[in-house]
Amino acid sequence: MSKSKPSRINAADVVVGIFFLVLGPVLVYSSLQMRVYGSFLDAPGFFPMILGIIFTIMGGILLNTAVKRNGLKELKEVIRNKEIVKGLRSDTTTRALVLIALMAVYIFGLIGRVHFTIATFLYLVVTMLYLKATSVVNIVLISIGTAIAISYAFSNFFRIPLP
């Protein structure tokens, strides 16, 4: 997954190839379950069915290419050496996961429940503190200023509704 380990891309391609090999037939099946009005040629499921066939073919090609580039060997090494667990513990991945989690809390937990300005302030403070962006006082001041400026500019100047 990580860019620092480009050799593992083939292993990832094996997984993605298998995913599309499974997705393709599932798509074909679900397309065939869709209602046919007049002719199947203009039925809602016709085009998704073709997409399903394309995904199956391309998934196969991707898998084949990845296997020929030692993808299976790499995948075995990834599993054997517990590289996924090690990767999850790496600095870069941890940082990315924490940032995604903070965004998720902001979007699913705060937006729509708390006033937008307060939600934004909380998100910015916590994220910048985690990133150690600058001193605590500066972080608080920047977050307050930004949250108020964004809310004011979009609701009054651009006349855009805020969530």
Partner: protein, 507 residues
């Protein structure tokens, strides 16, 4: 003939007058400046900026919105050369080739000169692409009027295939897969013919389909924020900026290079979804092979900077050609411009000139004025702009997130769109890390509805037989082109495989 010229000139003058208003000019002046700043800051790309700004333009009239978005687009593509030169990190992907020579020049204390040459070359690129836009758009529009459902379907597939081919480094199949994944995304919601719900999983919110703008904001906003912030390494500004404006002799020597690079960039821009970065790389490669001093490329060649910078800006005008004639964006930022046009009720395509006479001229005039403002701002502010690079990304990037939320929410005033944006942000992040390109995905989302309806209607016309469709000359050209793309993709994969096995055996 004379009557046509008179009519077109009168239309041009009318459009010129309507564009030349104080709010539009002010918008272009500040939009270009904003664009250059955005482009200069690593992590803030032209595509991301446009995705965030589409909904901001909602309350504006079309001319003002066009001035706003195109000025940011032009500025951002140009601004990338500042950070590429001074810190060896392209502000936008389109400036990656610029860094190869810009940064060595900065190390020698000639960073300002590299930026100056880059900005003048960008201006040349813009002018060449604007001329091409005015000349080629009516011709392609006339040709596109002859396209039936079959041709429209094929052009969608062609766009995705060629985009997938050009945007992946190793296996083109990865680009094609994400392109078709984009088409599948466009299938979600009520189908366009019978209003039958497809892949909605009984969710009411999905019946309206996946909204384009939240998906774009997620793909280019959220994923970029996470990708940039996960890295800890701070930027280091190299050397002094030095003199910015090059000598007249240097400028004169750039003209032939710029004409060649401008044409290359414009042609790459016409290819669906290819984008500014590919234009710059192709032009750089051609420039190196045609140069009298290829050995200087990569070590601080002014020629190298000019090749890359002319071409990436020439893509801007080139990308507008398929956008205006076929509603197919030539680059990811152009996809944002297309979304904005749809938002404002403008339907680009072969009928654009009938439905919105003078719209082509409006785009060309705005691009021309933005190019002039970009040249002035760029040369005047190159030195102070370097201080923008000192802003810490740990402060700047989190601020993008609330903007993505507002951008996603504003279009439909639905919190669900914010969730869609977040989902696509995660998808974009995963795709980036697995080295899948995002341009084909965007193109797929945009072209999906057209591909679906056109294919089904073409099949109905021929009662399911492919043979009558293969007798259509334009269709046949596209079929041959698609087969050629698949073949060239296959050949490239085989070559890379051979190369990999040779390297492995040598090791």
């Amino acid at each position: 003939m004379l009557e046509t010229i008179t009519r077109e000139f009168s239309l041009f003058s009318h459009v010129f007058g309507s564009i030349l208003t104080a709010p539009n000019i002010l918008m272009m002046i500040f939009g270009t400046l904003g664009g250059i700043v955005i482009g200069a800051i690593p992590g803030l790309t032209a595509t991301m900026a446009l995705a965030l700004l589409i909904n901001v333009s909602y309350g504006m009239n079309m001319d003002l919105a066009l001035s706003f978005l195109l000025s940011v687009y032009v500025g951002a593509v140009t601004g990338g050369c500042i950070s590429a030169t001074m810190i060896n990190i392209p502000g936008t992907p389109s400036a990656a080739a610029t860094a190869l020579d810009g940064f060595p020049l900065a190390k020698k204390g000639k960073g300002g000169l590299a930026i100056g040459v880059g900005i003048i070359a960008s201006f040349f690129g813009m002018i060449i692409s604007i001329i091409s836009l005015i000349v080629l758009t009516p011709i392609i529009s006339k040709l596109a009027l002859k396209f039936g459902h079959w041709e429209m379907f094929l052009i969608s597939v062609f766009g995705i295939m060629i985009c997938g081919n050009l945007t992946t480094e190793d296996a083109p199949v990865k680009g094609w897969i994400v392109g078709f994944l984009g088409i599948l995304t466009a299938m979600v919601g009520l189908d366009a013919v019978y209003a039958y719900p497809r892949f909605t999983f009984n969710l009411l919110q999905l019946k309206g389909g996946i909204s384009l703008i939240p998906a774009l904001i997620g793909l280019f906003g959220i994923s970029e924020v996470v990708s940039v912030l996960q890295e800890k390494e701070p930027y280091k500004i190299e050397g002094k900026v030095g003199r910015v404006v090059p000598d007249w002799k240097d400028i004169k020597s750039l003209i032939p290079i710029s004409i060649r690079s401008g044409i290359i960039g414009m042609l790459i821009g016409v290819i669906p979804g290819a984008g500014e970065d590919i234009g710059a790389w192709v032009s750089y490669d051609v420039g190196k092979r045609r140069s009298k001093h290829p050995e200087r490329f990569g070590k601080g060649s002014i020629e190298g900077v000019a090749c890359a910078e002319t071409a990436n800006n020439a893509v801007v005008g080139g990308a507008m050609i398929p956008l205006l004639t076929l509603a197919i964006p030539g680059s990811p930022p152009a996809a944002m411009v297309l979304a904005a046009m749809w938002l404002h009720g403008v339907r680009p395509g072969p009928l654009l000139n009938f439905e919105f006479p003078g719209f082509l001229y409006a785009v060309a005039i705005v691009l021309l004025l933005c190019s002039v403002f970009m040249l002035i701002w760029g040369l005047a502010l190159a030195k102070p702009m370097v201080s923008v690079l000192k802003i810490k990304r740990e402060i700047l990037m989190p601020i993008i997130v609330p903007l993505t939320v507002i951008g996603a929410y504003a279009g439909g005033v639905r919190i669900f769109d914010v969730y869609v944006m977040f989902f696509f942000g995660l998808l974009g992040y995963v795709l980036r890390n697995l080295e899948y390109p995002m341009a084909p995905l965007v193109l797929g989302i945009i072209l999906g509805p057209m591909a679906d309806v056109s294919f089904r209607r073409a099949m109905m016309q021929t009662k399911g037989s492919l043979l009558p469709l293969l007798t259509r000359p334009m269709g046949l050209v596209f079929v041959v082109a698609i087969i050629w793309i698949i073949y060239s993709g296959y050949r490239r994969t085989q070559q890379l495989k051979r190369l990999a096995s040779e390297v492995a055996s040598e090791a």
